[in-house]
Amino acid sequence: MSYKGKFRVWRGDSEGGELKDYEVEVNEGEVVLDVIHRLQATQTPDMAVRWNCKAGKCGSCSAEINGMPKLMCMCRMNTFEEDEVVTVTPMRTFPVIKDLVTDVSFNYQKAREIPAFKPPADVKPGEYRMQQVDVERSQEFRKCIECFLCQDTCHVIRDHEENKESFSGPRFLMRIAELDMHPLDAADRQHAAQEQHGLGFCNITKCCTEVCPEHIKITDNALIPMKERVADRKYDPLVWLGNKIRRRPA
C-alpha cells in the first residue's frame, strides 16, 4: 500500500525562498506530518517544522496544505489522489522563520493585552459553585489548542499587516467572549472588545470557524453574541444581518 508521493514544500527563510519538489514514500494510514518527517529523516535533515503531540491536541503543526490552513498531523494522505502533488507552505499571515516555521509572537502579544480572569472577591478557593450549563459556553472556547489557524485565515489580517495593531483576531476576541461568559468573572469585557481589540473589524464571514480543527463555532457562539452585547449600546447592521440570513449548514 506504499507509493511514491509528490510533495512540493516551501523552503527558505526570512530572506526569501521557493517551493521545492520531492518524491517521497507514503504508506497506508499516514498523515502529511508523517511524510514531512520521512523527508527529514531521508532527504532534508534540516527542514524546519513544528510539532509535538501528533494527535491534534497541541496546535503546533499548523501550515497550509494545498492552500488550506490545516494541522499537518490531522491531514490524512488518503484525502489526496496518489498522483496529486501535495503542496505544503507555512502560514501566510505570520512572518516566516524557516521553511514551515513562522513567527507567531503576534498571538502571544495579543494574549497579553487581554486582562486576565478576575476572581470574585468574596468567594474562597474551594467554594466556587457553577452549574454545568453555565460553564459549557466558555468551555467550548477553552477547547482552543492555539493552533492560530483562525488567525491565519481571517482576511482582516491575512493580507493586511496594517490591521494587526488594532485587531486581535478571532482567537483572542473569542478569549474575551470566554471571560465575558465565565459565570464568576468580575470584570467588564465588552467595551474593550470593541475599542481595543477591534471586534468591529470582523464582518462575520465565518472563515475562522471553517478552519478551526476543534470545530469551535467561533463566529456564531463567540463573536456574534459579543457583537450583540456591544450593540445593545450601539446599532451594528452586521449583527442584525448575521441573525437574519441563513447560512449554508456546515
Binding site: T42, S60, M130, I145
Partner: protein
C-alpha cells in the same frame, strides 16, 4: 570567551509544563525574578496532551474520599516502593492545588450541585479525577499559562514592562547546567530558531523537563521527551532513582502504523469501556493478582453493577493499575488471542449511548475518526501497550524538591520517588501542581539563604559551546535519525514490558556501541532551526537515560509495577526496601548502587490492614500487633 546572550535571574525554571509553570508562579509570587525556558512554544508542553484528569481527594462525588484513602491508593498503585512522604504531601495538598486553579480561571466539569466533578480511574477507590471532558491537560496548561500572563500584567502595571520579573524563553533548549564548586550557578543553551547560544546566570535552577519516552519506539510521548532533565541532573552530579520503572500504558492505538502508540485515555475504561480478546471474552477477570483480589470483582455482573453502585460492589478488573492491565494485554496477544493488528479490543460502543460517548470522550471520538477511520460509538477500538511515563527521576527531598546538588531542584515527571514502581492515572497532573509549587518555594528559600551568589566559570561556558557544535565538525558521519531509530528499536525490544537478563545485557552492549557512533555523527545545514542538529544533541541525553534504565533493570531481580522480569516473576519484599540510585562516573558511564528506603512513619502504616501490609513488607517491617 564565547560570545553569547546573557541573562541574570534569581530562579530559572527549565520546562513549561504543569510542573514548570506552577513552580514559576510560586517563585515569582515569592518575589523572585524568574525565567521559564522551554523547547516548544509556550503552551505546547507535554502536559497539554493529558486527557483523563487530575487526582485530588476533594470528596465531591463520594464524600467518603479523603487524603488518607488517596495516599493508600497511591502506595498500593506503586507497590509500596513510593517515597511515602511525597505520597503523603501529594494526597494532602492536591485538593487545594486544584481549587486554586479555579481562582486562576479554570473551568472544570461540574457535579449537579455545582462543584468540580470527579471521575473514576484505575486504582483509585473513589471517583477522584477532576476533569474537563477528556482534555484536562489542555485546561491545566492554559490556566497556568493565563495565570503567568496575569502576573506579567501586574508587573506591567507596576513597571511598564511585562517581562520585568517573569519571562518565558520559548523554543530555547538547555544543554548544560553551570556550577560553582558544588552549587548550581546557571544554565547554558541555544535558541532553536537561530541556533545562537544563551546563558542564564542563576543561583537556583528548577528542572521540570518531563520524561524519557522518546527512547522507545512505541510511545505516547512527543519529541520533547528525550530525558534532558534527567541527563542534565546527572551531569551536574545529582542522582536518579527508580529508573528501572517505566510505565507502559495498556491502551495505545495500534493501527494505522503511523499513529501506533498514541494514547487512548483510561477514561474510556473509567466510564465503562471493556477489554475483549479476539474470542470476544472479557479477559481481565483472569488476570486479577492476589494482592488485589479483595478489591476487584470476579464476575461481569458484579463489575457492571459497580458503575451504578460502587459502595456495594467490587471494581471491574479493567480498572486495575496500569502495569497489570498492560501485562495482561501482552499475554493475550502472545497467546494468539489478539486483534488483526496485534492488539486487543477496547469497546465502549456497546456500553454507552452514542451521545454519551461523544459528550464524555470527545477527543477520543475525534482521534479515532480522523486518524483510524473508526467510529468508537459504533465499533470497538484496537489497542495495545505503549511507553507512557517514567516513574524514575531525580532523587529529591520531598518537602523542598531539592536534589543532592545545592541549588538544583526538580518537579513533575523528571523527579523520582512519588509514584514508586507504578503511577496511578491522574496522579501526575496533581503531582505537577503539588511539587511544582513546592519546588518554587524550595528554590526561593534557598536563594534567600545564600550569603554569596555562585559564579559562572567561563571555561565551562566554552566547553558547553564546543560540545554543542561538535556534530557540525565532522563530515561524512552517520545521520542522527538512523541512530535514533535503532536506539528506539533496541529499547523497545530488549528493555520493554517484559525483561530478561540476556536481553538487557544485549541492550547494554548496543548502547555502548551507540555511544561510539554518536561521537561520530554528522549534521547537515546550518544552525538556524535545524531539527537534525537538535536531535543530535538530544541523543546524548537519550543514551545516558537508556543506560540508567537498562542497568537498573538488570540489577533489580524481581517484578514490580513498571518492571517485569521474565526470570524473576514475583515481587520480593527484600527488594521493596531498596532503591537503585544512578550516578554519572567521570568517564560518562552510569554507576548504579543500592540505597535503603526510609521506613514508613508508624501513623501512616496504621492506615493499612496488617493483612495487606504483609503482602508487601518483610516480617521485621510489619508493625507489632
Amino acid at each position: 570567551m564565547t560570545e553569547l546572550e546573557r541573562h541574570s535571574y534569581d530562579v530559572v525554571v527549565i520546562g513549561a509544563g504543569g510542573a514548570g509553570l506552577r513552580a514559576a508562579i510560586e517563585a515569582r509570587e515569592q518575589g523572585k525574578r524568574t525565567a521559564i525556558i522551554c523547547k516548544s512554544l509556550f503552551g505546547k508542553a507535554h502536559t497539554v496532551m493529558a486527557e483523563g484528569g487530575a487526582a485530588a481527594a476533594m470528596g465531591n462525588v463520594n464524600s467518603k474520599d479523603n487524603w488518607q484513602v488517596h495516599f493508600g491508593d497511591t502506595m498500593r498503585g506503586g507497590k509500596f516502593l513510593n517515597n511515602w512522604r511525597m505520597a503523603e504531601l501529594h494526597a494532602q495538598e492536591a485538593p487545594d492545588r486544584v481549587w486554586e486553579l479555579e481562582t486562576y480561571g479554570a473551568l472544570f466539569d461540574r457535579t449537579p450541585d455545582g462543584r468540580i466533578s470527579q471521575r473514576n480511574f484505575g486504582g483509585h477507590t473513589y471517583p477522584r479525577l477532576a476533569h474537563v471532558g477528556d482534555r484536562t491537560g489542555l485546561e491545566l496548561i492554559r490556566t497556568l499559562q493565563q495565570k503567568i500572563v496575569s502576573l506579567q500584567q501586574e508587573d506591567f502595571e507596576a513597571t511598564g514592562d511585562y517581562e520585568a520579573n517573569l519571562k518565558v524563553y520559548a523554543e530555547c533548549t538547555i544543554t548544560e547546567l553551570m556550577k560553582d564548586g558544588e552549587a548550581v550557578s546557571g544554565a547554558f543553551g541555544y535558541w532553536r530558531e537561530s541556533g545562537r547560544f544563551i546563558l542564564f546566570d542563576a543561583p537556583a535552577v528548577i528542572l521540570a523537563t518531563g520524561g524519557v519516552g522518546k527512547s522507545f519506539k512505541v510511545t505516547s510521548n512527543s519529541w520533547e521527551y528525550t530525558g534532558d532533565g534527567h541527563a542534565l541532573a546527572m551531569r551536574a552530579g545529582a542522582t536518579l532513582i527508580n529508573m528501572e520503572f517505566i510505565q507502559f500504558h495498556p491502551t495505545g492505538m495500534v493501527w494505522p502504523p503511523s499513529v501506533k502508540g498514541i494514547l487512548v485515555t483510561e477514561s474510556v475504561r473509567g466510564d465503562g469501556g471493556v477489554l475483549k480478546n479476539s474470542e470476544g471474552k472479557r479477559f481481565m477477570f483472569e488476570y486479577v493478582p492476589d494482592v488485589f483480589r479483595a478489591q476487584y470483582a470476579d464476575t461481569e455482573e458484579e463489575a457492571d453493577r459497580w458503575y451504578k453502585d460502587a459502595d456495594n460492589n467490587r471494581r471491574p478488573p479493567e480498572l486495575l493499575p496500569r502495569d497489570e492491565v498492560a501485562r495482561a494485554i501482552n499475554s493475550e496477544v502472545k497467546a494468539g488471542r489478539g486483534t488483526p493488528h496485534g492488539g486487543v479490543f477496547l469497546d465502549v460502543s456497546t456500553r454507552l449511548p452514542a451521545e454519551e460517548i461523544t459528550r464524555r470522550l470527545p477527543s477520543m471520538h475525534h482521534q479515532f475518526k480522523e486518524l483510524a477511520d473508526v467510529d468508537i460509538t459504533k465499533e470497538p477500538m484496537e489497542v495495545g501497550p505503549t511507553c507512557h511515563y517514567v516513574m524514575g527521576g531525580v532523587e529529591v527531598d520531598p518537602d523542598t524538591a531539592s536534589s543532592v546538588v545545592p541549588g538544583l531542584f526538580a518537579a513533575g515527571e523528571v523527579a523520582g520517588g512519588m509514584h514508586g514502581s507504578n503511577r496511578l492515572g491522574g496522579n501526575s497532573l496533581s503531582d505537577l501542581l503539588v511539587f511544582g509549587r513546592r519546588a518554587g518555594m524550595g528554590a526561593s528559600t534557598y536563594v534567600d539563604s545564600l550569603q554569596e551568589r555562585p559564579k559562572i566559570d567561563e571555561a565551562d561556558v566554552d566547553t558547553a559551546a564546543t560540545e554543542a557544535l561538535a556534530p557540525f565538525e565532522l563530515e561524512g558521519g552517520e545521520n542522527p535519525y538512523s541512530i535514533h531509530q535503532e536506539l528506539q528499536q533496541s529499547m523497545n525490544d530488549l528493555v520493554g514490558i517484559i525483561r530478561k537478563e540476556e536481553e538487557m545485557e544485549q541492550a547494554l552492549g548496543r548502547l555502548a556501541e551507540f555511544r561510539g557512533r554518536i561521537a561520530k555523527m554528522t549534521v547537515e545545514g546550518h544552525r538556524q532551526f535545524n531539527p537534525g542538529w537538535h536531535l543530535a544533541l538530544d541523543l546524548r541525553n537519550m543514551l545516558t537515560v537508556s543506560e540508567c534504565v537498562a542497568k537498573a533493570a538488570l540489577l533489580r531481580q524481581e517484578s514490580r509495577g513498571g518492571h517485569t522480569r521474565d526470570d524473576f516473576p514475583g515481587m520480593n519484599a527484600e527488594w521493596r526496601k531498596k532503591l537503585l540510585v544512578c550516578k554519572l562516573e567521570s568517564d560518562g558511564s552510569v554507576d548504579v548502587t543500592e540505597e535503603q528506603q526510609i521506613p514508613m512513619r508508624p501513623d501512616l502504616l496504621e492506615l493499612f490492614e496488617l493483612d495487606e501490609l504483609s503482602k508487601y513488607l518483610t516480617e521485621e517491617e510489619l508493625p507489632a500487633k
